[in-house]
């Protein structure tokens, strides 16, 4: 096969043989060659620019001249302009001449015209309409080579205008071919038409209607010409992604084609049609394993043949043979992983990749590491992958190429589970000490996630994170240190240990600023837990922290100031020392406004507030709501896309502001020790921290005085009795407002003229905490206020509230909930009180649903389908079809599903309009996984909702809840 090319020895030969001008094939534009030689002979950049400017002036004058240029000259100049453009210079003329060439009868002129247009024209160029017109003419040409030029140009530009103007023409070429032409040329037109159509489909699907031809397009897979099949396979895959159902027929055709994709011209270094095979194997990855047993058997045979061939001795020593063979093998393994149904194939795939892990070809080792990541997610092969742990750790240590080491990190991350977490995290930490800077940040995120996910003992977790900061402090992003603080605050069993450990870490002479942040925060919260030891007495803690103060940036200093004011509350004995620090000019008159303000306010607070007020304001931080780890989110969005890099001038916020705004904007991040400004009512700020709200919360639940007055004048005396109940014994409106909470946690549960009831709730695993706010809207006192809850299936523990609510006042009640088993009936909330001599009673439903105990679960498509298939018994599924209640809006629907406590899994359903989700519901002592698929039908304004879960009544309970939300 083809002799070697570009061999190194030839470079020297080039210098002698071709230094001035090489032999030129075919057409001979001598002027162009002379010009290119001139450019190459330029000794400096300046000389080159001078020569180019001279040429541009020459061409311009030729184009402007009176004499009409003949086609040859026009072609030559257009070609020169193209060359100049490709050297990196801007070209602002000559476009019209190029467009003229398109209508030339001479093939070469037309061809150069199309090349110029393809390379230079941008989609929104004014000339595009003229170009489209020429293309249309050529598409209708009886000469297939002209048709092909027009198709190639369309595929190269592929703009929206082209889709609009040509979208109707091209499908015809694909399925009918042209009359009176030779078979061969029809084939080449079909090939180009298929890929041109694909390009237009990608840019502007709205203009491409395949409709009636879909079955003929599928049958292109049966075409005798393998080139046609190769092109068509790509088109069909794109169509399948849009509409899997309509193109389902391609599965059996693809399988049968796969088993006979063998034709001499298409054999590449002894590998039969590798490109076609790979495309077919990819096409099949859009469907679940074939249902038809015969097709399925045939596919299994194909895959086995491919795996068998991998074990045979190579038919050629050429690298091309190996690459092509392994390309097919890798794609086959991808399909096996995708189907995730045949344990035998999966384990064989894993063994094969295991061999590659130690292959002498770096490329193969790289790909083996990559594919094994996928295998690690399958339950059938996870264990088999784990056998290679030692090899992978070894790769991490010995590979010379950082991109291979990166893959090893990814695989270790993927194969990690409870059994090997400590070992893998240990290896990764060790490697981090010497790791390449380019992968440190990602490694830090991964270690942090693994340590959290598989921590049995949270002291281990704290150690790991502090190690991370010590080893790689610069690469520890905010998310990581926020997270360790969230976890320490939420788990009281680890707080003392954390305080002790950070205290020790801070004693290192040079410690990273991130360590100071974590240390400052944790000591501010839990310094008291170690204050009994004289070695870490309050004063020692303070002095240790203060010794770092001047070494830190303003953001950290702000945080440390907050720690100081927390110390004032924790350790009254060092109050005056702290006040002295706050009073120093360095703080009180700091040029940084934020630091100055904190110093002034904290000093004032420490001076004027009583111990009680201090204790309230500076109370220990309440637990953070459990949500998806923000580190995970960070890891996911780490990779920028190519287009994003165009506008990577993100405004960098000055640190202190960023820090302050964290309190308001983010759910997941702990506000770095926020202490409310002295002028704010402490309770409001405290509840902000608790929930990190962006949904209506306390501001609604605590109506402003202004609106009260209006309500009072309007309604007092005329208020209807609120004792009426509906057929379920509920107060009218109770059911509706209950439903409003299915996809959100905060809002107004009930409101009438007398009373407004707001709810804020948070859930963690199988526990929930509801804050209920009762606001008296009248100008009278409520007396005999009593609250009762009724529930049979969950544990519901309301904290007592007083029996009176003053006019205009609001009281808060906390109710703790524990989910014992699955339930469908919500607890009842019964409220009774006297107001202005009338007694009132409200029967409401407490907005607690089974779904509230669900946490979104992330998984890839292989895992999803495997689980979905695993839940195939009839009582494990519930399906509902219902009419849309709201306009079908993707973003809103996603928000609702996330609010429901299930994830949005992208890229799993072949139809991008459908939503696929997963969640884990926590019940006392166990968990129930659930999978959800929601299929909107925009034309009919209908939805089909399918829910599967392992425990029988769960799908029905969830479907009943979710049904009314869309």
């Amino acid at each position: 096969m083809g002799g070697s090319t570009f061999c190194a020895s030839k470079v020297s030969r080039d210098l002698t043989k071709k230094a001035t001008m090489p032999a030129v094939k075919g057409d001979n534009m001598r002027g162009l060659l002379v010009f290119i030689s001139d450019i190459r002979n330029c000794k400096s950049k300046e000389a080159e620019i001078k020569r180019i400017n001279k040429e541009l002036a020459n061409i311009r004058s030729k184009f402007k001249g009176d004499k009409t240029l003949d086609g040859y000259h026009k072609k030559k100049y257009v070609c020169k302009l193209l060359f100049i453009f490709l050297l990196g210079h801007d070209i602002d003329f000559g476009y019209m001449e190029a467009v003229n060439l398109l209508s030339s009868n001479r093939y070469t002129e037309k061809q150069i015209g199309y090349l110029f247009i393809s390379v230079m024209i941008s989609a929104n160029n004014d000339l595009i309409k003229l170009v489209i017109k020429s293309i249309k003419n050529d598409l209708a040409s009886p000469n297939p080579v002209h048709v092909n030029l027009a198709l190639q140009c369309t595929a190269n530009i592929g703009s929206k205008e082209m889709a609009e103007g040509l979208g109707n023409e091209i499908p015809k070429l694909l399925v009918t071919g042209m009359e009176k032409s030779l078979r061969e040329t029809i084939d080449s037109v079909k090939q180009s038409a298929a890929l041109t159509l694909l390009r237009l489909l990608r840019t502007s699907p709205e203009y491409i209607q395949i409709g009636e031809w879909s079955s003929r397009v599928i049958h292109l897979l049966n075409d005798q010409h393998l080139g046609v099949v190769t092109s068509a396979a790509s088109l069909i895959e794109a169509l399948v992604k849009k509409n899997p159902e309509e193109y389902k027929g391609c599965v059996s055709l693809a399988v049968s084609r796969l088993s006979r994709a063998n034709l001499q011209d298409y054999t590449y270094y002894f590998v039969p049609a590798p490109w076609l095979s790979v495309k077919l194997l990819r096409l099949l990855q859009n469907y679940p394993p074939p249902e038809d047993p015969a097709v399925r058997t045939r596919l299994t045979e194909c895959l086995e043949t491919i795996l068998n061939k991998a074990q045979e001795p190579p038919k050629s020593k050429k690298i091309q043979h190996g690459n092509a063979k392994n390309a097919v093998l890798n794609e086959a393994i991808n399909l096996i992983i995708h189907m995730d149904s045949d344990p035998n194939l999966l384990v064989r795939a894993c063994n094969q990749l295991g061999q590659f892990l130690q292959h002498r070809e770096t490329n193969l080792r790289y790909l083996a590491l990559e594919s094994m990541c996928l295998l690690a997610t399958s339950e059938f092969s996870h264990e088999a992958v784990k056998k290679h742990q030692e090899t992978v750790v070894n790769s991490l240590k010995t590979e010379r190429d950082v991109s291979v080491r990166q893959r090893a990190v990814d695989l270790l991350y993927a194969m990690c589970d409870k059994t090997n977490a400590e070992e893998i995290v240990g290896e990764m930490l060790e490697y981090l000490e010497t790791a390449d800077y380019s992968i440190r940040e990602e490694m830090v995120l991964k270690v942090a996630i693994l340590a959290e996910k598989y921590a049995v003992d949270y002291t281990w977790y704290v150690d790991v994170i502090l190690n991370l900061i010590r080893i790689s402090g610069d690469y520890v992003s905010e998310e990581v240190w926020y997270r360790v603080i969230q976890i320490v605050i939420n788990r009281d069993d680890v707080q003392g240990y954390a305080a002790k450990t950070v205290f020790e870490a801070l004693q290192a002479p040079a410690c990273h600023e991130n360590m100071v942040k974590v240390g400052g925060y944790i000591l501010g919260e839990f310094g008291n837990l170690i204050a009994g030891d004289p070695r870490s007495s309050p004063l020692v803690q303070f002095q240790l922290l203060h010794s770092k103060y001047h070494l830190c940036g303003p953001a950290t200093r702000g945080l440390i100031l907050s720690t100081y004011i927390k110390f004032v509350n924790l350790f009254p004995e060092i109050k005056s020392t702290i006040q002295d620090v706050l009073k120093s000019d360095n703080n009180l008159r700091n040029s940084d406004v934020e630091l100055q303000q904190r110093s002034v306010e904290y000093l004032q607070l420490s001076t004027v507030a009583s111990t009680d007020v201090l204790a309230t304001v500076l109370e220990e931080m309440p637990p953070f709501p459990e949500r998806e780890s923000s580190i995970l989110a960070k890891l996911k969005k780490k990779k920028p896309t190519v287009t994003e890099q165009a506008e990577n001038k993100e405004p960098k916020q000055p640190m202190p502001q960023a820090q302050m705004s964290n309190n308001v904007n983010t759910h997941n991040t702990p506000p770095p020790l926020s202490v409310p400004a002295a002028s704010n009512p402490p309770s409001a700020a405290a509840s902000d921290d608790l929930l990190g709200l962006n949904s209506p919360g306390p501001s609604q639940a605590a109506p402003s005085a202004g609106s009260f007055l209006l309500d009072v004048f309007d309604t007092v005396g005329s208020s209807p009795p609120t004792n009426g109940v509906d057929s379920n014994g509920l107060t009218p409106g109770a059911e509706e407002s209950f439903k409003k909470f299915i996809c959100k946690n905060n809002g107004v549960l009930f409101e009438n003229d007398l009373l407004q009831i707001g709810v804020k709730s948070e859930y963690r695993q199988n526990l929930g905490r509801l804050g209920i706010f009762y606001g008296n809207k009248t100008s009278f006192q409520f007396s005999g206020f009593s609250i009762d809850t009724h529930c049979s299936q969950i544990t519901c523990t309301p904290k007592p509230v007083g029996t009176t609510i003053e006019s205009g006042a609001q009281v808060q009640q906390v109710i703790n909930i524990e989910c014992i088993t699955e339930f469908s009936d919500a607890p009842l909330l019964i409220i009774s009180f006297m107001c202005n001599g009338n007694s009132h009673r409200l029967n409401l439903k407490l907005p607690v649903m089974f779904s509230k105990f669900s946490e979104p679960a992330e998984m890839d498509s292989a895992t999803f389908f495997a689980r979905w298939k695993g839940l195939s018994q009839p009582n494990q599924e519930c399906q509902k079809v219902f009419k849309a209640k709201f306009p079908i809006d993707t973003e809103q629907n996603k928000t609702k599903m996330l609010g429901f406590g299930i994830s949005i899994l992208e890229g799993i359903d072949p139809n991008p309009d459908n939503y696929v989700s997963a969640g884990v519901i926590h019940i006392k002592g166990s968990q129930v996984g659930c999978l959800v698929r929601l299929e909107p039908n925009k034309n009919a304004q209908m939805y089909r909702l399918t829910i599967r879960a392992s425990k029988p009544p769960v799908p029905n309970i969830l479907a009943d809840l979710l049904e009314h939300q869309f």
């Binding site: 090319t5 570009f6 090489p22 060359f83 490709l86 002129e109 092109s231 490329n363 790909l367």
Partner: protein
Amino acid sequence: MMQFMLLFSRQGKLRLQKWYIAHPDKLKKKITRELVALVLSRKPKMCSFLEWKDLKVVYKRYASLYFCCAIEAEDNELLTLEVIHRYVELLDKYFGSVCELDIIFNFEKAYFMLDELLLGGEVQETSKKNVLKAIAAQDLLQEESEEPKSLLEEMGFVSGP
């Protein structure tokens, strides 16, 4: 699908660029700059695949020229390496022991050849025979139109070899 292919010399001079998705010129230049620097900085025997932004980069050096393709996550790296090789083979067969200069002086031919092999970023025709046949047919048409009196005219291009 392949997003773009770049050919550049060891000195970092761009010799050919083919974009299968529409980017503004400014972005194209930026991407080219970054990738050329990235690939040139790699040592021999390193892996031919790189993760770069949300793309996969596959490159290979042939004598003084680097061939570098950017493909998407689900594309097959090894086979992309062989797309490059097939392209080199085609150029080699056509020019007869191709070298960098051939591509500089005949850049338009290099483009035409690439359009036969790949279209819209997907592999179109992988048979070497078929691609060369198509290019030979073009050349015949060319000579036919340049020298209308040639004998070739009478032979007719479609029935050619």
